[in-house]
């Protein structure tokens, strides 16, 4: 299958900080979930911004087939407009693309229903819990039916139970339209649970240190977290990470 987006020998350098990423290669095929794992500052968020087209590489090539509006990003914080209710927040990408307000709000309502928030349509961000706000953010990302979904440590600020519920929700929603997904995290278990392919990055500058394929169905079956496949995958990723950090030769 042709890649939905790819980074080919990209390098990113910032004045005063030198090269933070690369040379780095990553190709995403249609409907694939890839996790990027690495320590803070290894360039995983930079890689994500390149894929989103929010940043240009210093060297190398970025290819992207999705058109504008077909790429969605979920940030570490819910990044909602505090003055707008959930429905207005979710309708934003549609309205920015020129859709009439009534239609955009109808679709936003559907998207909120899909993330289990039909009761919070009129709530403002301050009235939502952290997990609920993240769901609104997810609904906003999915409302445009993106072909490329980029998740930048979306669980970072959430508690364990909320994380697990949200992980399963993301799989269920992904299954409806099967966009290509990049999931950035620094949590090994989370990566092994979320993705079909886990790419471990080393830092300074960010490069690929290892890759693990997880051959198990998505969405994950019940009890997957205690299965052998999951344990082995997490162990492999852990090993790659230790190598990336220079703890293992």
């Amino acid at each position: 299958m042709s890649p939905v987006a790819s980074l080919i020998a990209v390098e990113v350098a910032y004045p005063g900080r030198g090269t933070v990423l690369g040379p780095f290669d990553l190709a995403l095929t249609e409907g694939e979930i890839v996790a990027l794992v690495g320590s803070s500052g290894c360039g995983k968020s930079t890689a994500l911004r390149l894929l989103a087209g929010l940043e240009q590489p210093t060297a190398g090539t970025v290819t992207r087939t999705p058109e504008r509006g077909q790429t969605a990003v979920v940030f570490q914080a819910p990044t909602l407009m505090p003055w707008a209710d959930a429905r207005t927040n979710v309708a934003l990408p549609l309205e920015l693309a020129g859709m009439a307000k009534a239609k955009a709000h109808d679709q936003a309502q559907e998207a909120l229903k899909a993330v289990g928030l039909e009761h919070a349509i009129g709530s403002k961000p301050a009235q939502l819990s952290g997990g609920m706000a993240m769901r609104v953010s997810l609904a906003r990302a999915l409302v445009t039916r993106p072909r490329l979904l980029l998740l930048d440590e979306p669980f970072a600020a959430l508690d364990e139970i909320t994380r697990r519920n949200l992980a399963d929700d993301i799989h269920r929603l992904w299954d409806q339209t099967r966009p290509a997904v990049v999931f950035v995290t620094h949590n090994v278990e989370e990566a092994a649970y979320m993705a079909q392919r886990v790419v471990v990055m080393s830092a300074n500058p960010g490069k690929i240190a290892g890759q693990t394929i997880i051959d198990a169905p998505l969405p994950r079956p019940l009890g997957f977290r205690t299965s052998e496949v999951f344990r082995n995958a997490a162990e492999d990723v852990s090993h790659d990470l230790a190598k990336a950090m220079g703890h293992v030769q």
Partner: protein
């Protein structure tokens, strides 16, 4: 119990202080032009209440008009300037220079420019000048303090300049603009009073004029009465602006 005590405490303190003041005046026999007893001030207020209220309204309406005018000009100017970095850089030093110049220093000249026959114009202009800056800098700060991730989101979805301004920057600036108005409200009263003082007897009948008039005649009780009305008015305006700021913010944020 402690709650009632907390509400009563400031009232009690004022009562005690007034009592001490009254007793001191009676016991020492200090002349009334030097320090009038609270009872004399109260009597002056009771006697002149219609005049004082009229003057208070004169000053308050001047301040409110100035606030409205300052709001309009400061917000529009901040909007225009925020769209262009070079413009902002160019305006900034000028704005700071004007802001730190005491209004008393420029008042005489403004009175001359407005025409000695029109002290009202000078008074409004001076109140506008002092009320302008808190709103202007609040709006400018607010317009630039958007969440960078929200900015990225607007980039991602290809928002136009107008969409970004209307749907992101202006709403983001709202809390800052409200805060600016609260500060500007108090300053507008100060500006109006200072301007009335400088304009002097040119026909303005605001509270400052009552203060000037009575102190020139050594009617100190009347001076005190006017000052008390002035501070009550300032406190009332502040309370109203504070309450409206909170009400709007509650509506804005949903809690």
């Amino acid at each position: 119990m402690s709650r009632t005590l907390e509400t009563l405490a400031p009232i009690l303190l004022v009562a005690v202080l007034l009592g001490l003041w009254e007793a001191a005046c009676r016991l020492t026999g200090v002349p009334a032009y030097f320090l009038p007893a609270p009872s004399a001030v109260a009597a002056a207020m009771a006697q002149d209440w219609a005049l004082l209220l009229g003057s208070a309204w004169k000053t308050l309406s001047t301040a409110l008009l100035a606030l409205a005018f300052a709001s309009l000009t400061a917000c529009s100017l901040a909007l225009i300037i925020s769209t262009n970095r070079l413009l902002e850089k160019a305006v900034q030093p000028l704005a700071v220079a004007l802001q730190v110049t005491p209004v008393v220093a420029i008042a005489p000249q403004v009175v001359i420019w407005a025409g000695l026959a029109h002290p009202d114009r000078a008074i409004i202009s001076l109140a506008v000048i002092v009320a302008f800056f808190p709103i202007f800098s609040g709006a400018l700060t607010g317009l630039k303090s958007t969440d960078p991730d929200l900015e990225r989101l607007f980039d991602l979805y290809g928002a136009t300049r107008w969409q970004r301004l209307l749907r992101l920057r202006i709403p983001s600036a709202t809390p800052f603009v409200l805060e600016g108005h609260k500060v500007a409200g108090g300053l507008a009263v100060i500006g109006a009073v200072v301007a009335e003082f400088v304009a002097g007897s040119g026909g303005s009948q605001g509270l400052a004029w009552r203060i000037l008039e009575s102190s020139n005649r050594l009617q100190t009780a009347k001076t005190f009465a006017a000052v008390i009305v002035l501070s009550l008015m300032g406190a009332l305006l502040h309370a109203v602006l504070q309450a409206s700021e909170q009400a709007i913010l509650r509506r804005f944020r949903g809690r």
